[in-house]
Symmetry: C2
Subunit: 467 residues, 2 copies
């Protein structure tokens, strides 16, 4: 096991977890965090720490972590800021390997808070304790059924996307997108104030993490920009790293600085450095999750020219418009392709890109397989976006197996824009995504995910050429 | 009843509907459209027309609409393109007042199709029949429990937003947003090829429709741009009109032209004309529904400077960034406001805009009422965005009644960004929206809705000054 992986092993795969401040009061984080842990189905030992209770939930409680008879790997400190330092001291004495600290009121608040945070870091550095936080919603590892946060979201679905967020609230936002999409993930880390664990440390860990393929970073500012960029350059060679950096505008930049107590820095300098380091920057947080899914699911892109096939023009026009706005080129179809499509389609259509098969393809959805394949076989087409509006009643079959077949046959990426309210489940979605077709439920997000996915592979090709 | 309202009365409030091509085969539009009508709870008479069936569903079927013994107000033609003209002739003979035509393969396809469409229009103009389509998913009127489309979406929830879409697929997209949000609407009209009913006609109708307050338009291109702009200018004086116009980029513009057979026109000319006519243009389709909701729910805005209050910095930074990108100014808080906030908050914080109350306001959410009110009482604040991440377990109460109280007390707009996956219902959402607080579930959409809402009122103020 490589260095960083081993170093953080007890934090991400703890054999025992203590909840310091565990509570029976649902209004307290100490209740929510115990619930988060048990709802996720964590199978290690759980030790609630509460000086005023014999038991919390189904567990025996201990007055102090020092009273726990066995080893404790990870301690979740669910206490107000003024109780944190004492708890940290006891954790260090107990020999825990990691602490998660929810409380705010440290470096981000004032000099007194900064001083407390430095003291916390000093104690933990001496004792070899990793600090997740303070000022964080915590961490999750789906592969250990570990939810060490105060957000009880039930069982954690496993996948190969990991998230590192400097902000707890944005962590919630990104988790919301993941949950809405029914997507799995590997690790979620809210680094918060980064008392002794930086974003860069988590990137080094995730580089070695075998179940992480794509890393999403929500960043406000860093103290050591040089190290961050050096590290990400290394990591981006092996794993896809996507970033949303707050502070693209004047006021948001100033506010980001004030919040994190870190230099937000000039956005334009960051932007150039991101591209050089091989990081894909996205414009909005939702794009982070959508693009990560596309990169995780689709085969690598060999170029960035897109064909769109649809039975309804409007959404394909919106997709075309967004692709162009994001700098992606629409394929110019070869004459041979046009003729092949005309022969394959039972009715008269105007063949151009987007290819509008009209209403006939809504009912005879197998046309998506035939025409999609012709398009992917055109050397001018690097990726296909298939637009389809599923019947609200599910009685008309989606072109699911057809899209799976053509991506497998051609090894080119297929994105399915299955336009419908995401409150209505699409049964075929899981099957499609398991088989290499990325599904989005509206045209805007399908287009942006496709654009970001193509930009990622373009960046990758550019960097490889440069080497 | 005014002219246009009366003219379209039998189309939107028909006492009887015939489904021509009604079918028992779930794979046919004639099945889906009958289901759409009955699922919506339509209480008028329903006449399936099918020469090969005695009954369809629970209804007696007739071989031809001419065999129906009673009057028919609206006919839904669920036939392939080659059957449409004959059906239209029979509808005209029967004296129906409106026809909905799903089939494509007319003006948008080729000259032969265009000729058929002209013939269809000639017949209907002579007989006084309104044509919705062809090449449409149809129309809906929640206030008549009428779903005359092939999208069965159950009961139609009533509200004051109406949608006019040139594209069926984008109609589905906009309906998806409405359904995901649990939003009500008044009318939905897919005008399709507009054989004799133009977008402008629908705007004139909706201007007079008492249950429509905000009109959303999805437009590809128009044949008569001058009339469209003249009409919208009139309509925009009385109702809010929001528009998404496809064709902002080179390829999408060319494709829009090809699809609709209408001149898409230069986007830049449109853009200037929209603003002059008092139409608010949005950049993405989802913004159409989100902004319409804000305009519908919130009180009018007196200015466009925003304050943000939060317990978690990240999402408020994202909101700030998007507001700035959309040209909205963040309020500079007065010294008095800062002092009042410091006095009101039990812990030490740095007061600036966004106002970060830190984790304490997550647990003591009543702070949103206290601080929100202080902010709204500042003359530099025209609108408030309150950011809150609801507990996934609902045990910690949201600041719902507090936000309702402060918008009522100050008559200034309050937007609640309640960040959480929209698959988890928020019970307080309906209460908040009924009482004037607009709710969004992620920071991006909250910010864009706020920005578009403020831009709408700014546009309105500018036009009033000019008069």
């Amino acid at each position: 096991m490589a260095g960083t992986l081993k170093e953080f092993e007890p934090v991400f795969f703890p054999e025992s977890v203590a909840i310091i401040g565990a509570s029976r009061n649902p209004g307290k984080l100490g209740y929510q965090s115990l619930k988060a842990l048990t709802d996720a189905g964590y199978r290690g030992k759980i030790y609630p720490i509460n000086p005023n209770a014999e038991t919390v939930g189904d567990f025996r409680a201990y007055p102090s972590i020092l009273d726990v008879p066995d080893r404790v790997d990870l301690a979740v400190i669910s206490l107000p800021p003024n109780g944190v330092l004492d708890a940290v001291r006891e954790c260090a004495e107990k020999g825990v390997k990691g602490v998660v600290i929810f409380a705010s009121g440290f470096k981000e608040l004032d000099e007194q808070g900064a001083q407390a945070e430095r003291e916390m870091a000093r104690i933990c550095n001496e004792a070899g304790v990793k600090i997740i936080g303070p000022n964080t919603i915590g961490l999750m590892n789906a592969y250990a059924d570990l939810n060490a946060s105060f957000a009880p979201i039930g069982k954690l679905l496993r996948g190969d996307i990991s998230i590192v967020s400097q902000s707890g609230g944005m962590g919630t936002t990104l988790l919301s997108y993941i949950l809405e999409d029914g997507l799995g993930f590997s690790k979620y880390v809210g680094v918060g104030n980064r008392a002794n664990v930086e974003i860069a440390d988590m990137l080094l860990y995730l580089r070695e993490d075998p179940t992480t393929r794509v890393i999403c970073v929500f960043m406000e500012g860093v103290d050591n920009a040089r190290r961050f960029l050096q590290v990400t350059k290394e990591v981006a060679r092996e794993k896809a790293v996507l970033i949303y950096k707050v502070g693209k505008t004047r006021v948001s930049n100033r506010a980001a600085f004030s919040h994190t107590g870190s230099l937000a820095g000039s956005y334009h300098l960051y932007r150039a450095a991101f591209a050089q380091a091989g990081l894909l920057e996205v414009m909005e947080p939702s794009e982070l999750v959508d693009a990560a899914k596309a990169i995780s699911i689709l085969p690598p892109a060999g170029g960035d020219r897109v064909a769109v096939v649809t039975h309804t023009a409007g959404p394909s026009l919106v997709i075309t418009e967004i692709l162009e706005r994001y700098g992606i080129e629409m394929s110019t179809l070869s004459e041979e392709t046009k003729e092949r499509i005309l022969e394959a389609v039972p009715i008269k259509i105007n063949v151009q890109n987007p290819v509008d098969l009209t209403g006939v393809a809504y009912v005879y959805s197998e046309l998506y397989g035939v025409v999609g394949r012709i398009l992917l076989e055109d050397e001018n087409v690097d990726a296909l976006v298939a637009v389809y509006t599923p019947s609200f009643q599910r009685e008309i079959p989606l072109p699911a197996k057809e899209l799976i077949e053509i991506t497998k046959a051609t090894n080119k990426p297929v994105v399915a824009a299955l336009i419908s309210p995401n409150i209505f489940p699409i049964e075929e979605k899981a099957e499609l995504e398991k088989n290499g077709v990325a599904v989005y439920r509206n045209p805007e997000r399908a287009a942006k995910a496709t654009a970001n996915y193509l930009k990622y592979w373009k960046l990758k090709r550019t960097l490889q050429t440069r080497k």
